[in-house]
């Protein structure tokens, strides 16, 4: 009973917040609505007793990804004009029917989906997980045995994307200092002895 109530609350708020994410004008509010979605999806995970996923979900999405979005929004300081529409007018006629169609299809599939028969299920039912000490431990067991390669690949993917992002966002001229004009040259013209002294006292940026 209490689970059902929790489920309904989480699901309704998640959907409403998702709607807000899509429809709210300000990007910051949109991002904050997404945080709400993330929380409630984590809540749904918790209702399913998948605490590990719930916690990781909050940590990664809310704690890292959306913060990054907010951070970027604040850093960019974008120009925004009052009269600018925030929706594609002509895309709207295409997008809304398509999204509805998608929803119908996905809903229809969901309607016709049943959990596998008892015999066909995997080895990790609630009792097995509890015996291992929780979803964290159970996940660790498959992660470092059965799925070790995908795990490593995910690590490589993260490394590659962070390097790529660094390379993209870095200004090419950030590393080098601007050429300091030689203060002595301006006055006396090139003169080896004095130019040396001049270079030594010239402050860097």
């Amino acid at each position: 009973m209490i689970e059902d109530i929790t489920f309904v609350y989480m699901a309704v708020i998640a959907v409403l917040a998702a709607l807000a994410t899509v429809l709210v004008r300000s990007p910051v509010r949109s991002a904050l609505s997404l945080v709400v979605v993330v929380f409630h999806v984590a809540g749904l995970f918790a209702v399913m007793d998948a605490m590990f996923l719930a916690v990781i979900q909050v940590m990664v999405y809310a704690g890292a990804i959306i913060v990054l979005f907010l951070f970027t929004i604040m850093l960019l300081d974008l120009r925004h004009e009052a009269g600018e529409p925030y929706l594609h007018k002509n895309q709207l006629w295409l997008g809304i029917p398509l999204a509805i169609l998608l929803l119908v299809e996905a809903g229809w599939i969901a309607l016709n989906t049943e959990p596998l028969a008892e015999a066909a299920r995997g080895a990790y039912d609630a009792a097995a997980i509890a015996e291992l000490g929780g979803t964290g431990q159970a996940l660790a067991e498959v992660l470092f045995n059965e799925y070790l390669l995908p795990f490593e690949i995910a690590g490589v993917l993260l490394l590659a994307s962070s390097v790529g992002a660094l390379l993209l966002a870095r200004r090419p001229d950030e590393d080098k200092l601007p050429d300091a004009p030689d203060p002595v040259d301006d006055v006396t013209g090139p003169d080896d002895e004095r130019a040396e002294g001049g270079a030594a006292i010239w402050p860097t940026r």
């Binding site: 990007p27 749904l44 970027t72 599939i109 995997g122």
Partner: protein, 101 residues
């Protein structure tokens, strides 16, 4: 309700469709990226639900993988966004057609 797989799948489907809608109709590139994260939320929920109800750790694994992908994707996407905004000072998708031909 909380112990039926279909309920979770409905919520996942709604989140996914809403995300799709956002990707299609929003003009701000940032919100488009956010909507993609929303789609991933739907996907995560679906896969997690399958993992739990089929008592298989594969669903958890896929969720973790999609978390990784989401992190990578948003990092690279935001880096591109920063680069683009340096040139344009605005991020409207319908004004970005410089690579048309």
């Amino acid at each position: 309700m909380a112990d039926s797989l279909n309920a979770y799948l409905y919520v996942g489907a709604i989140l996914f469709a809403l995300g799709m809608l956002g990707v299609l109709v929003r003009r701000s590139l940032i919100v488009v990226l956010l909507s993609m994260e929303l789609m991933l939320q739907g996907v995560n929920l679906t896969m997690g639900a399958f993992g739990v109800f089929n008592e298989d750790m594969g669903g958890y694994m896929l969720t973790l993988a999609s978390l990784t992908i989401a992190a990578s994707e948003s990092v690279v996407g935001l880096a591109i966004l920063v680069v683009v905004s340096r040139k344009a000072r605005e991020l409207y998708t319908d004004r970005m057609d410089g690579m048309k031909w």
